[in-house]
């Protein structure tokens, strides 16, 4: 166990430099990705990466450092950096090094079958996916992105309080974005899958869906500006939820960056809204038995039937609020300092299919994608105004496709306007955040 030995050496050096409790977090990863364009290999990537994050207390204050050059030569750099960072740390609440939880719920994020898929098969998959898309319709002119990737990651955590934890996961993803053209009008369609079960990867399905999405919008046009009843696609809803998810962090609340401040045990959403943080969701990209500080993860309802039940905590925020950590300490990578983030977070599904939800709508819009989430959405105010496309619904049926419109509203208000969730959770590309399709009372649409 080479990293454990290195960690011991780092701890010894830290001790000599006057540091108190210390922790080492190491991650190792392998990645493969093939991109195809016009039936040729357009990109082919192999990677082997590792990095080491260090943190430790100096005179009671926490300092961080990291290195990608994992060797004994880096020890001085790590200690010196962390010590300097601890000295300037004037924060009134400090991180702590954790001694470990009593019990951890084991998770399994490894699928050994995935290792048996050869590089040749992966290349063939990507080639086939593009070929099928191009063959489906003559209006499909090119693939903008066509790729298949697989990877493996392992993280290890060691600290001077005797904690020694590790977790590993493998994954695969396929992404297809196609461009359709007709009479000088362009439209693109996108589809992807992330899973470590390669048997779920189907080129017909991916190509079919991406092509349909592109073709559907070749003859799209705006609708009149006004307020519309909305069905928000699960993927779009997951995107919004991901962008706003920091408002559930206790840290954001403490820092006055969440309008949920002071709303614990109050109604913050419609009755149909139950928001779950589920670290054990099978196949979830954030599935884990321990969090970034080594605290055991737990399943919880953040919002239950519209009532805000808890914020998300790490050790620092929970100490401030005199509660237990909810196991939501985040450590995006060895480069990150400890923060707070959800695990697999999703709205609890309802019972109806999308078709059933549509069938009961007189007039409205089914919105399939939201553009510009990083710019047109202010998670602090909750205001959003986003470019979007979708379908006009009339008399319970899809009437035509719609594009070049914006949809706007406020997320806090929208939580109260949610009327119904469909039955299937859809996870967004960022992984971890999901939502079923959701019916919303109204949103403002700008079009013609």
């Amino acid at each position: 166990m080479k990293y454990k030995e290195l960690a011991e050496k780092i701890f010894q050096a830290g001790n000599k430099a006057g540091m108190g409790d210390m922790e080492v977090y190491v991650s190792d990863g392998e990645e493969f990705e093939v991109k195809v364009s016009r039936s040729e290999i357009d990109g082919y990537k192999l990677a082997q990466s590792s990095g080491l994050g260090f943190r430790g207390l100096y005179e009671g204050r926490m300092g961080y450092s990291y290195t990608e050059k994992i060797s004994e030569d880096s020890i001085d750099f790590l200690i010196k950096g962390a010590r300097e960072n601890a000295i300037v740390n004037d924060s009134e609440d400090q991180d702590v090094i954790f001694e470990g939880s009593e019990k951890y719920t084991p998770v399994n994020n490894m699928n050994s079958e995935l290792d048996k898929v050869t590089e040749k098969q992966k290349i063939e998959f990507a080639m086939d996916m593009e070929k099928k898309a191009l063959e489906l319709d003559s209006r499909i002119k090119a693939s903008q992105y066509c790729m298949l990737g697989t990877g493996y990651g392992k993280s290890e955590l060691y600290n001077t309080k005797g904690l020694s934890l590790s977790e590993e996961a493998n994954f695969a993803y396929a992404v297809l974005m196609v461009l359709a053209e007709e009479n000088g009008v362009y439209s693109s369609g996108f589809e992807f899958i992330i899973d470590n079960d390669f048997s779920k990867f189907n080129t017909d399905e991916l190509a079919g869906k991406a092509v349909k999405k592109a073709l559907d919008f070749l003859d799209a046009k705006p609708v009149e500006s006004g307020e519309y009843e909305i069905i928000l696609d699960g993927m779009a809803s997951a995107g919004l939820l991901g962008a706003v998810s920091s408002i559930f962090s206790a840290r954001a609340v403490h820092k006055n960056l969440s309008l949920l401040k002071g709303k614990l045990n109050e109604k913050v959403a419609a009755d149909c809204v139950t928001l779950v943080d589920d670290p054990f969701y099978k196949g979830g990209t954030a599935t884990a038995s321990f969090d970034g500080e080594g605290v055991a993860t737990v399943y919880k309802n953040v919002i239950e039937n519209g009532v805000l039940k808890t914020f998300l905590h790490n050790l620092k925020s929970s100490a401030k609020d005199n509660v237990e950590s909810t196991g939501n300490a985040s450590r995006g990578s060895y480069k990150s300092t400890i923060g707070i983030s959800p695990t697999n977070m999703y709205f609890k599904p309802g019972e109806k299919s999308l078709e059933q939800v549509i069938s009961r709508m007189q007039k409205g819009l089914y919105i399939v994608s939201l553009d510009g989430l990083h710019s047109g959405f202010d998670p602090i105010s909750g205001d959003f105004s986003l470019g979007t496309k979708g379908y006009l619904i009339e008399d319970g049926k899809i009437a035509r496709s719609v594009n070049q419109i914006t949809v706007s509203g406020n997320y806090y208000a929208m939580l109260g306007d949610m009327e119904e969730f469909a039955k299937e959770i859809i996870f967004g590309m960022g992984g971890g955040i999901g939502s079923p399709h959701v019916k919303i009372r109204k949103l403002s649409v700008a079009g013609e």
Partner: protein
């Protein structure tokens, strides 16, 4: 960083299965960051990034591999593993490495990794206070600082060996105003491809006022009403519209695949005569500049559109081979983790002949976008969206009430054709541009421009 002897062995391994070209990108960087929030340190980090990227061409095939290993055996093994993906007939001869220096346009006085954390923290704190003190409705300020000193070396089978040191320093200030339970934000993010002297030269009080000023104005603004109208987009970050809506479509990554709306249009009119657009990676110490690109070629000033006529694309070596065109010194990557590809550097619409006042007074009813927020675009369809960070209505040729929540949407080529007036107040601003080869520093810029008609989203 890594000896030339080892580099040669790795290049030899990389072409051992018949590759016709191979390249190594070696990076050893130090990074430092501070996040100051709520009157105290939120987090600070010091780190070292180290890695090696290996790129192999075989005809029109490109293989990329990277590793954090640094010893000869691991590097050769990585190269051999990558080489397994190809079988070529024109194995490149590995030429003797001939070290050349860069032109060194970008002068660095104070290396930020020689400045202590407490000095940096003082700057961050002063900026924080300036924003916080601006107005009583400012409830929160995040003041962040980041620097990186990136030592890179590029070597290839043609005997090229070049080293460069890229130094980036940046201050990022974000202010939150709260009024009637609603929050609004304002931000300024000055940055440079330069040393710590840039930070020492900043007017922190003024930056604080600017970030907080937008937040306060927006907190007191009503929502923008949606509609189609003329829009005057002011200078500096306003250039994000050209960057997103047109610039990405001029990158060879999109052009070579034929998925750009600008593909095959060199020499054609794509904009009115008032529009000239340039990408210039040589501007001294600008955020998107570098001495050389990430293939080891000198950066250049590239005219993209001249008086409305499409003149050129931004081209990297690999896509240049596909397109049969010369590379333009535009190959960039976030780090050793990415194969380089054609990217923008400092991209801007050049000065026109009108004044900003003339643009405003020409509009009876429309929107004045003083500061733009970010946006995104689909390079295939040209569809884009941008948020307006600080906007005002224009009524009867005068700037009227502020409006919040405005978004601009449209299609790049359409909007480009609708730029009908260009002012003379060119300025640039700093952003991070995300695309195929990762997130890289890029300047956007323009003088104030008038777009005759655009869809404004609001409520």
């Amino acid at each position: 960083m890594i000896s030339k002897g080892i580099i040669t062995s790795v290049l030899e391994a990389a072409v051992s299965t018949g590759g016709d070209f191979a390249e190594l990108f070696i990076e050893d960087s130090s990074r430092s960051s501070i996040n100051y929030l709520d009157g105290q340190l939120e987090s600070t980090q010091t780190g070292r990034d180290f890695g090696v990227g290996i790129r192999i061409f075989c005809g029109m095939q490109c293989i990329y591999a990277y590793t954090n290993s640094f010893d000869k055996d691991s590097l050769v093994e990585t190269a051999l593993k990558a080489a397994q993906a190809i079988k070529g007939a024109n194995q490149a001869e590995v030429m003797v490495l001939n070290e050349t220096t860069t032109n060194g346009i970008h002068v660095i006085d104070i290396m930020p990794d020689t400045v202590g954390k407490s000095d940096k923290l003082d700057i961050v704190r002063t900026a924080y206070n300036a924003a916080m003190e601006y107005d009583s409705i400012i409830k929160q300020v995040s003041s962040r600082y980041a620097d990186s000193v990136r030592h890179v070396a590029i070597a290839n089978t043609e005997g090229l060996y070049r080293e460069d040191t890229r130094v980036y320093t940046r201050l990022m200030l974000n202010a939150v105003a709260e009024k009637d339970g609603q929050m609004q934000t304002g931000t300024v993010n000055p940055g440079t491809h330069g040393g710590y002297e840039f930070i020492r030269g900043l007017d922190l009080k003024d930056l604080g006022r600017r970030a907080a000023g937008t937040a306060v104005v927006m907190a007191n603004a009503e929502y923008c009403k949606a509609g189609v109208m003329p829009v005057v987009i002011d200078n500096a970050f306003g250039g994000v519209i050209f960057h997103e809506a047109c610039g990405h479509g001029l990158e060879a990554t999109a052009v070579a695949k034929g998925t750009s709306v600008f593909a095959g249009k060199i020499g054609e009119r794509v904009a009115p005569e008032v529009v000239t657009a340039i990408d210039d990676g040589t501007l001294p110490n600008e955020w998107g500049s570098a001495n050389m690109d990430d293939e080891g070629s000198d950066t250049k000033r590239n005219v993209l559109i001249e008086k409305g006529i499409l003149k050129g694309y931004l081209i990297d070596r690999f896509n240049g081979m596909k397109m049969g065109m010369e590379a333009t010194g535009s190959s960039r990557r976030e780090s050793y983790r990415y194969a380089p590809t054609s990217r923008m550097s400092n991209t801007f619409i050049d000065n026109g002949e009108n004044t900003k006042e003339e643009l405003i007074s020409s509009v009876d009813f429309g929107l004045y976008a003083k500061y733009m927020g970010g946006g995104s675009v689909n390079p295939g369809t040209g569809e884009f969206n941008f948020s307006v960070r600080e906007g005002y209505m224009i009524r009867n040729g005068k700037i009227a009430e502020p409006v919040r929540g405005a978004t601009l949407i449209g299609k790049g080529p359409d909007v480009l054709r609708k730029i009908d007036m260009v002012a003379d107040n060119l300025d640039m601003d700093q952003g991070m541009c995300g695309s195929a080869s990762g997130s890289i520093p890029a300047n956007v810029g323009q003088p104030a421009v008038r777009v005759s008609s655009i869809t404004v989203g609001g409520r």
